[in-house]
Amino acid sequence: MSDVPGDLKYSKDHEWVRLEEDGSVTVGVTDHAQAALGDMVFVELPEIGATLAEGDACAVVESVKAASDVYSPLNGEVTEGNQALADAPELVNQDPYGDGWIYRMKLDNEDDLGELMSAEEYLALLEDEA
């Protein structure tokens, strides 16, 4: 069973979002997504300063099996990419909600967070897809 932490928000495309104290958000792929993709071998990060709209393909996670787009769950501007993934893409598998985060962004409107799914709603989505 996939790990779905209760304090995060989720998108239907299997990204998670954490609101940080400074008002920015951290984005990664969920435990379910990393398990489905398999062993990560490469992560292409979004460029810092890039303006993203919800649903934009903004990063790529590649496993031995295939390349998969990461879609921005929200509107905003990229402030940081997880450079550790350049040498250790397997962090996405090992710690998807921690060291395997993908990028940080400043939101255009913090209220947009309310559009995302709660952990409960995301769990229900996973059950539906199973």
Partner: protein
């Protein structure tokens, strides 16, 4: 629901992620594709390959039939049990399938063909066989298991009685023998030593369990693909098909143009291509920049033209991305690959990339 091999329940119990593969429900991995890959390079792994098709060809003129059907020359098969890798071509020289033929006796040859091409292969073979009075029988009641890796042969031998053990351990590469109800071939699709075993379906699950007990790791289609790519082995439908000739697919070594008297299907087309010059070639690529080569990416060769990646992956053994690409014949030692709009540098190399656990190219 797709077709299931005798191992289906075994895969599910072992925690496999099942996928559709040419109409079959097959395991892609059992947890970690990369660990399965390394198990085969360093120890022993087993693959369910029961979806592949075993075809028995019998008749007095079976050798003459195969001499006409295949681009490689069955005259090379002089010793019983010896195997031959060959393409089966259309009249236009396109590859209908790549397959292995085993010499059982003068009136009986066995063929193993791909799963995804089974129906068209059987139709084609049967059509050609009529004129030679050769019977074509698909062996559907069998299971097929590939046990591969430096320790694979010892692990398989451990399941057999003394006589069987002696027989299989004496097998030379690319040879096969009947051992009781098993057909054991020292062949594979990984670049490692090992066996491919055809056995009655009823024995499949128990053999699997005993090999697992002996420490042989179950491996899925994912590892099978990264292993064969590292080993420089083509995949039908990806690296070649009916629109490409073997000469454009890195398979010229499997085409026997000598002796000139031997007529085979596709010969005239290949000769014409040789006469005018083969326009494209299949090469190996190693990506010099960070990223992963994948099928259908555009290849740019400065001053020469364009080509396409046929199949690519991240090589777990080399720690770099590798691929096969079909490029213009004049391509030199370097090219660029368009990966999501960025042009990344790649080196052109002669496969294999890895054989018997060792890198064949410098990274």
């Amino acid at each position: 629901m797709g077709q299931r091999t005798p191992y289906y329940d075994t895969h599910v119990e072992a925690g496999a992620r099942m996928v559709d593969f040419g109409g079959w429900d097959m395991p892609v991995h059992y947890g970690s594709q990369v660990e399965e890959h390394h198990a085969v390079r360093n120890d022993a792994g087993m693959f369910d390959v029961s979806h592949m098709t075993v075809v028995d060809l019998e008749g007095e003129r079976v050798r003459a039939f195969l001499s006409y059907l295949l681009a490689n020359d069955v005259a090379k098969l002089k010793v019983q049990g010896k195997a031959l890798y060959s393409c089966m071509l259309t009249e236009q020289g396109g590859v209908i399938d790549d397959l292995i033929t085993y010499f059982m006796n003068e009136s009986y040859f066995r063929m193993v063909v791909n799963a995804s091409t089974r129906d068209k292969d059987l139709a084609w073979i049967s059509r050609q066989a009529t004129a030679f009075g050769v019977s074509v029988t698909q062996r559907a009641e069998t299971a097929m298991l590939a046990v591969q890796g430096p320790n694979a042969r010892t692990k398989v031998a451990g399941l057999l009685d003394e006589r069987g053990r002696d027989t299989v351990l004496a097998l030379k590469p690319f040879s096969a023998a009947l051992v009781g109800s098993w057909f054991v071939a020292r062949t594979g699709y990984t670049g490692e030593d090992g066996f491919e075993i055809v056995m009655p379906a009823g024995q499949a699950v128990e053999v699997w369990a005993r090999l697992a007990e002996a420490g042989v790791r179950p491996c899925g289609l994912g590892a099978r693909d990264t292993l064969r790519l590292e080993a420089g082995m083509n995949l039908y439908g990806t690296d070649m098909d009916e629109t490409t000739t073997p000469l454009e697919s890195g398979l010229a070594w499997t085409v026997a143009m000598q002796p000139v008297e031997r007529d085979f299907i596709g010969r005239a087309a290949l000769q014409a291509q040789l006469d005018t010059g083969v326009p494209r070639k299949l090469v190996g690529l190693v990506l010099e920049d960070r990223g992963v080569l994948r099928g259908h990416q555009r290849v740019l060769v400065e001053g020469v033209g364009e080509g396409e990646v046929t199949g690519g992956t991240f090589s777990p053994t080399l720690g770099a991305s590798i691929a096969f690409a079909r490029v213009p014949a004049d391509t030199g030692a370097a090219c660029q690959v368009d990966i999501r709009g960025k042009l990344l540098n790649a080196r052109v190399v002669q496969p294999p990339f890895v054989r018997n656990g060792k890198a064949c190219i410098e990274i």
